[in-house]
């Protein structure tokens, strides 16, 4: 128990320093301004996280220049970033990208990790395809041997942070199965269709047309990537659960403030019992999701595949349901003001709504839980 407390304190310090930095550098207007200009590179606060705070490596093992915080550190970072609506590209670069790299040590991966922690490299995970929805094995992008290296053909869909990325970690299929490859953005034959996303970030669909890569681009053994992809996506799923907790806490705070001061019929609208009960339901949904996300976070680093999959999916269901309850409730209780770009509530709700479906909506995760059910005894 004493280790846990020590870790709790470390995490609390992590949250505090990140929150202070975000307060100073990532206010509502600052964020909007920075994101509006962020077509080709992440907003400047990203570089600040690395160079001023030195926090990007919080989760990485100490052997790789990190603080050794593991998933618990990722969750603390994501929740705090979520409260400031500043999640990207921590998810793609650190949770997914650095997670995959650190589990495939080697000269290339180690060098890239160093650049990542220094804020010099940004990763995007080019995995999903137009047809694949949430199916993690549905990859049609083709990988072929080509001399000493590889040739790639295919298309990836809605690759978050791709317009900001220096490198993609991408999946492709050959006869051996699924493989992961590191592809520098400027590789010939890689074409992006970049666009904004509803949460203020950027993403792209990417065409790979006869892209040639050296043998070293391969991460791990050819055909062995599916378990790695599943783990990375489960960690990413739990990370957005944590992000959503941060967003929802902000939504609750803003909504409580609003209903306390907003008057209709001569009384604060917080005096209406129906609105009070709705607030109670929003709060309970949030607390359930927060407790379960934290609980799963404590165990996920050491869990086996089925245990991890079941637990992460359960947490995602709780978080998604809470996002819906809190997000929709926050807009409704704000009335017309909740429908405008002018208050943070609308921005929070857009991100929360994307999280509901990101890495699979509740129905998909429930089906996953149902399939993982042990036979009744």
């Amino acid at each position: 128990m004493s280790t846990l407390t020590e870790q709790d304190e470390t995490l609390a310090m992590l949250r505090d320093s990140l929150a202070r930095y975000l307060d100073d550098n990532h206010g509502f207007e600052q964020r909007l301004y920075a994101l509006r200009k962020a077509d080709d590179a992440p907003p400047p606060f990203w570089q600040g996280l690395a160079s001023e705070l030195d926090l990007l490596g919080a989760a990485l093992p100490e052997s790789q220049g990190g603080l050794g915080g593991g998933m618990a550190a990722h969750l603390a970072m994501m929740e705090t970033l979520g409260g400031a609506l500043a999640a990207e590209p921590y998810l793609s670069t650190m949770v997914i990208g650095a997670g995959l790299l650190q589990r495939h040590p080697g000269a290339q991966a180690d060098a890239l990790l160093k650049r990542i922690v220094a804020g010099q490299a940004v990763l995007a995970f080019a995995h999903g395809e137009p047809q694949s929805r949430h199916d993690r094995a549905d990859v049609q992008t083709e990988l072929a041997r080509d001399g000493g290296g590889f040739r790639l053909n295919g298309r990836k869909a809605v690759v978050h942070a791709a317009p900001w990325a220096s490198h993609f970690i991408m999946s492709a299929r050959s006869g051996a199965g699924l493989s992961l490859l590191v592809v520098p953005r400027e590789t010939a034959g890689v074409r992006l269709r970049a666009y904004p996303t509803r949460d203020g970030g950027r993403a792209a669909d990417i065409a790979f047309g006869d892209v040639r890569l050296p043998a070293e681009a391969l991460l791990g053994a050819e055909g062995s990537a599916l378990p790695q992809i599943e783990r990375a996506l489960d960690e990413a799923t739990l990370a957005v659960c944590a992000e959503s907790i941060g967003i929802m806490r902000r939504l609750m705070r803003d909504t409580l403030d609003y209903v306390r001061q907003r008057k209709q019929f001569g009384v604060p609208i917080s005096s209406f019992q129906v609105l009070r009960h709705r607030l109670a339901d929003m709060h309970m949904a949030l607390e359930r999701a927060a407790a379960l996300t934290a609980s799963v976070g404590e165990h996920v680093d050491t869990a086996d595949h089925d245990e991890r999959a079941r637990a992460v999916s359960s947490a995602k269901v709780a978080a998604a349901k809470a996002c819906k309850a809190v997000g929709q409730g926050a807009v409704q209780l704000h009335g017309g003001m909740g429908m405008t770009e002018e208050l943070a509530v609308g921005h929070c709700v857009r991100r929360a709504t994307l999280i509901e479906g990101q890495f699979g909506p509740p129905a998909w995760h429930l089906r996953r839980v149902a399939k993982l059910r042990p036979a009744a005894t």
Binding site: R133, R198, D205, Q332, M339, T340, G357, A363
Partner: protein, 398 residues
């Protein structure tokens, strides 16, 4: 539900279908399909309104002497259903459905002559000034003032959530003409032309990124006093009459059209997907649930139309319809976002630019716009909380 129609109903339906096949251009259909808000932008909505006007169908619900059709309730319903099914652009109701019934019921002959033809033809485009920043659900607390000065009123104050004020050439407003007393007293219903000196329109961008709404500021704006409908200080009864009209109408035809598109989008998404069949099956169940809910809502709407044809007062029917219709509409948008899956994140304009070398599915981009826009459906036109208050008060009083 598709039941057998009478001969007259079948005839009308075929006539409407022929008309739509001829007059509803691909461009207008696309505009209708891409309308993620309550109604289409001025350009396409008004263009379609003028096409309907030429056929005599722009204001079917009006009394025949002002240009209405005199149809039966069922014929009105069929007309709405055919238009929705063909993706006709939803038209702005501020003129034909909101101020016009007020003009017809409370206006002078001169006012009717002055305003109704322009609404029917589409020449005029109206916007509504009801809500104020401090007066939402509690409309009676409104503060925007109009002071009589000879043949004019001088308006000072502000109105908010004014849809399409940027396109309108006329405006109807609730204004306070007397202070003190009960808040419902001292309110007047005033119509005037815009723009006018002293009026400033501030755009309000919604969370879907659309510009439908505005805040309108009045700074010593002089408008002719003959724009007053009814008596000065007697506007509250008119306001309530309008609200009931605003809440009425049929949701089911539009919902069924939306459901059809969702179903097609789901079929396309799941047939492309190589994954297991469970996701498609699970979605099919929820689409069926929405379909059954639309059936039930449609049955209540047809019941209301019949009651109306018998001359019954609407009572709480508009409130029930608003709650059920708006929440079902919101539910459909949730399913749309889920069908869109990863593509729901894309924030691009809904136009032909979504195609190209790496095409983005239009339904997916639409889905999130519709979801975000429709969060307002339970807020505007009297929040659903207020509607439930009305229903409950009626139940407990009877």
């Amino acid at each position: 539900m598709a039941w057998a129609l009478t001969a007259a109903e079948t005839a009308l339906r075929d006539e409407v279908r022929d008309f739509l096949a001829r007059e509803l251009t691909p461009e207008l259909r696309a505009a209708g399909r891409r309308c993620s808000g309550i109604f289409t932008d001025y350009e396409y909505g008004n263009r379609w309104h003028r096409v309907l006007a030429k056929r005599g169908w722009s204001v079917p619900n009006w009394p025949v002497e002002h240009g209405g059709t005199g149809w039966t309730a069922m014929q009105h319903y069929l007309f709405a259903a055919e238009l929705a099914a063909a993706d006709a652009p939803p038209r702005a109701p501020m003129g034909p459905g909101m101020v016009a019934p007020v003009i017809i019921a409370f206006g002078t002959e001169a006012q009717k002559r002055a305003w109704l033809p322009g609404i029917r033809s589409g020449e005029d485009y109206w916007c509504q000034g009801y809500s104020e920043p401090q007066s939402g659900s509690d409309l009676a607390s409104l503060q925007c003032k109009a002071v009589r000065d000879g043949d004019h009123y001088v308006i000072n104050g502000t109105k908010i959530w004014t849809t399409h004020a940027q396109y309108a050439n006329r405006m109807f407003c609730l204004v306070r003409t007397t202070s003190g007393g009960k808040p419902q007293q001292g309110i007047s219903f005033l119509c005037f032309d815009i723009p006018a000196p002293g009026i400033t329109i501030r755009p309000i961008i919604s969370i879907s990124g659309d510009h439908e709404l505005n805040q309108v500021f009045f700074d010593d704006v002089r408008v002719p006093a003959d724009g007053l409908i009814g008596e000065e200080n007697q506007g509250w009864a008119i306001a309530k009459y309008l609200l009931q009209h605003e809440r009425g109408g049929a949701w089911a035809p539009m919902l069924r059209a939306r459901l059809r598109r969702l179903t097609a989008a789901a079929d396309a998404a799941f047939s492309a997907s190589g994954g297991d069949a469970h996701e498609a099956d699970d979605m099919a169940l929820r689409l069926a649930e929405a379909e059954c809910a639309i059936d039930a809502l449609e049955a209540t709407e047809l019941q209301s139309l019949r009651a109306q044809a018998r001359g019954e007062q609407p009572g709480i029917r508009p409130s029930m319809g608003k709650v059920l219709g708006s929440e079902l509409r919101q539910r459909l948008t949730e399913l749309g976002v889920e069908i869109a899956a990863h593509y729901a994140a894309v924030d691009l304009p809904l136009d032909d630019g979504l195609q190209g070398e790496l095409p983005i599915p239009e339904d997916a981009v639409f889905s999130m716009s519709a979801y975000l826009n429709d969060r307002a459906a339970s807020i505007y036109a009297g929040s659903n909380e207020v509607q439930r208050n009305i229903v409950a008060a009626h139940l407990l009083a009877n």
